[in-house]
Symmetry: C2
Subunit: 420 residues, 2 copies
């Protein structure tokens, strides 16, 4: 088989470890110069391919590529752009082929969540339907942990560790203050339709009365009266109440507790503001002094408190994607397979993109306690190994060091521009 | 001089390193059994003294006391209770004397911010006015960094490191997303009347176009039009805009951008919600997609990313307080003296509580850039050493280990209860 270049792109919301996957892809590709020529990274994801804005990663030093492993965010830029079906918008696919052909690209690696695996799958269909041979491998990534087939998603473990740590630390704070001041603390966390991240807050405590006292999952319809009664009970019994609330918490009828009224390119409602909404309820109904925090991007960017397990897995799926591609596999996604929980052992498996695309994995119902406000021991057993191990970045002048890339674009070969 | 017991209490908002000061006090006291008998910690600060709820720290193992150095929050409980002047409420002072006498307490160590140094000063006046001999030393602590005489306040350096790190990390995230998604990110930070914490966000970047692009200080009157024009300019020039906003940001007339309408025991307005207020302005005026985060307690509890300098200084002021007390000093507060900035050298000095009480140190005006939206190089030189060095806590099962104290109360000796 002739040597072909590879295209790699980051897609959707970035994470603390998506660059570790990029590192895995590029370092592994560099070990196979007989199969893979250059790795071109899409500037801002698939948009970079459409615009023929290809970053030449071969110009980056080994040190710069190695530094990706401790750099949060998406080093090449990500995007929220969803390809339509080929029948609806063939122009986008024709353009991709044009760009791939111009730059002799034979491998397509797409690093993202459910929407992105869908994109990767559609590109793989090019090979058949449009007669352009390209090997497509999806690389899993999402803090939401909602991809099917894989035991967990790279990116999630680090958010889980950040949220569990932050819940623990903030709980010690409010416990100190509750006698004469703040009695209720609410931490809003990400997780649109699946309560995985909120569940991770539950790792902060375990025994009777230990925080967090209440977790609000998207999977459990929100009941105002039950919530307020529980808050009141906790304050009376323990002196304070710590709440971890998913941004996706919603009423029985599906209305989000905090709907900002903005939708993104995929038609998803932009969420934010569950914590102040809950704080307001507490104030009006119970009158307790409260504090609230919204972690937002801080949680998914927090490379400084990344899980070592997560960093390893993120790297491993990048590496596996390249190995699968050069082994001739098509339309696959490497997965994390849990061999056992304690002591934790995992390996790399694979799933078909055709089956992965656009499926969401919710929390199993037996991971949520019967009262709906906490996690079960099975959930704890699932989550525990994912936050295990520390992988502190190097620091310089008191701040984490991050990769400095050249991000130099390959000269364009096509005459035409493409409007997104 | 006879051996006397000591009373130590934590006061006001707790920090990531106030327990390091407690560790300094207790370990140093244990080295002077010829002067100091037991160290009793007030359960929930001065309230513990009023209620005769004294924690016997002599029952804690050396290991447990050592673990305080990496445990956030207030291990003995803190409070927001301000003693009135002796002439206004002599009952509280009479009660304190009663409790101190009953438990043979000759040393009073009060660990807090401006309000707490005021309390410590008032207690020191007992010695003169009410004929009860007690040595009073204040121990500085406040994330707001607004105590006078000391170059910096223990607790601030760690918040500064957390905010600078979080700003850096979240900026890498939004930079990846801005081409097709979020263009404006707003991080709300603490600091009621002084912009020190907001300024620390400025350490995340330095060069032209590097985030944060806008810092909103309480010291600079908020101008909606200038703010929005700047946001728009940044998005057009750099593709995105990162804003670090102090919770104390206010209009020319003194109205806070986000006044939740709640006041604490000291009559201070409870703040929160600057970030969503700003996000709303951006959305309505410019229509950019935004994200916002409110760090709240997470920032001041974040022991996992504490500054090593801060941890050392917090310990040192605890140690110095005990050494000053046994040297016979009265109504003093140990301070941090900056010997030089680069390389950083500091030592311990002292200030008179009578002068410290109820003063707030604002940011020097030359620390704020002329345009009001950033920090100067002098500010950077001041802040840089305070975030230097890492002091990671030990971890267990993926989470920081924290001190487990017995917190056993000394049997009460007084017949009367005291209503706060």
């Amino acid at each position: 088989m002739a040597i072909k270049n590879a295209f790699y792109a980051q897609s959707g919301g970035v994470t603390a470890v998506i660059n570790a996957s990029a590192c895995g892809v590029i370092q592994t590709a560099r070990k196979h110069p007989d199969k893979i020529g250059k790795v071109f990274a899409g500037r801002n994801g698939i948009i970079g391919a459409l615009r023929e804005e290809l970053i030449d990663t071969s110009l980056e030093s080994d040190e710069a590529i190695q530094a990706l492993i401790h750099t949060p965010g998406g080093a090449f830029g990500s995007c929220r752009h969803k390809l339509k079906n080929i029948s609806e918008n063939p122009r986008e696919y024709e353009r991709l082929i044009e760009v791939f052909r111009a730059h002799d690209i034979g491998y397509f690696f797409y690093n993202g969540g459910g929407d992105s695996q869908d994109t990767a799958y559609k590109v793989s269909q090019l090979a058949d339907r449009m007669g352009y041979p390209i090997t497509c491998i999806g690389i899993p990534k999402t803090v939401d942990n909602d991809l099917p087939f894989t035991d967990c998603c790279p990116g999630f473990g680090s958010v889980a560790k950040y949220i569990a740590t932050s819940t623990l630390e903030a709980s010690l704070d409010i416990r100190s203050m509750c006698e004469s001041s703040t009695k209720v603390f609410i931490l809003e966390v990400m997780g649109r339709h699946a309560g995985w991240i909120a569940a991770a807050g539950g790792l902060a405590g375990q025994g009777e009365g230990e925080p967090p006292h209440i977790i609000l999952f998207p999977e459990v319809p929100f009941n105002r009266d039950a919530f307020l009664a529980r808050v009141d009970r906790c304050v009376k019994d323990y002196g304070y109440c710590v709440v971890v609330a998913s941004e996706g918490a919603q009423y029985e009828d599906g209305r989000f507790l905090a709907d900002a009224g903005v939708k993104d390119a995929f038609g998803h409602t932009q969420l934010g503001g569950v914590a102040p909404a809950l704080a307001n309820m507490v104030k009006q109904a119970l009158g307790y002094k409260y504090h609230w925090a919204v972690a937002d991007y801080l949680q998914r960017a927090a490379r400084h408190i990344a899980s070592a397990t997560d960093v390893e897995q993120a790297y491993a799926v990048g590496q596996a994607a390249v190995e699968m591609a050069i082994a001739g596999k098509q339309a696959k996604m490497p997965t994390i397979v849990r061999e056992q929980s304690s002591p934790y052992r995992w390996s790399i498996g694979e799933a078909n993109l055709s089956e992965v695309a656009n499926q969401e994995k919710k929390m199993p119902i037996h991971f949520i306690r019967d009262d709906g406000f906490g996690i079960t021991s099975e959930c704890r057993e699932y989550l525990q190994p994912l936050i295990a191990g520390e992988s502190f970045p190097p620091f310089e002048n008191g701040l984490p060091k991050v990769a400095k890339l050249l991000n130099q674009l390959v000269p364009k070969k096509l005459k035409t521009e493409f409007e997104i």
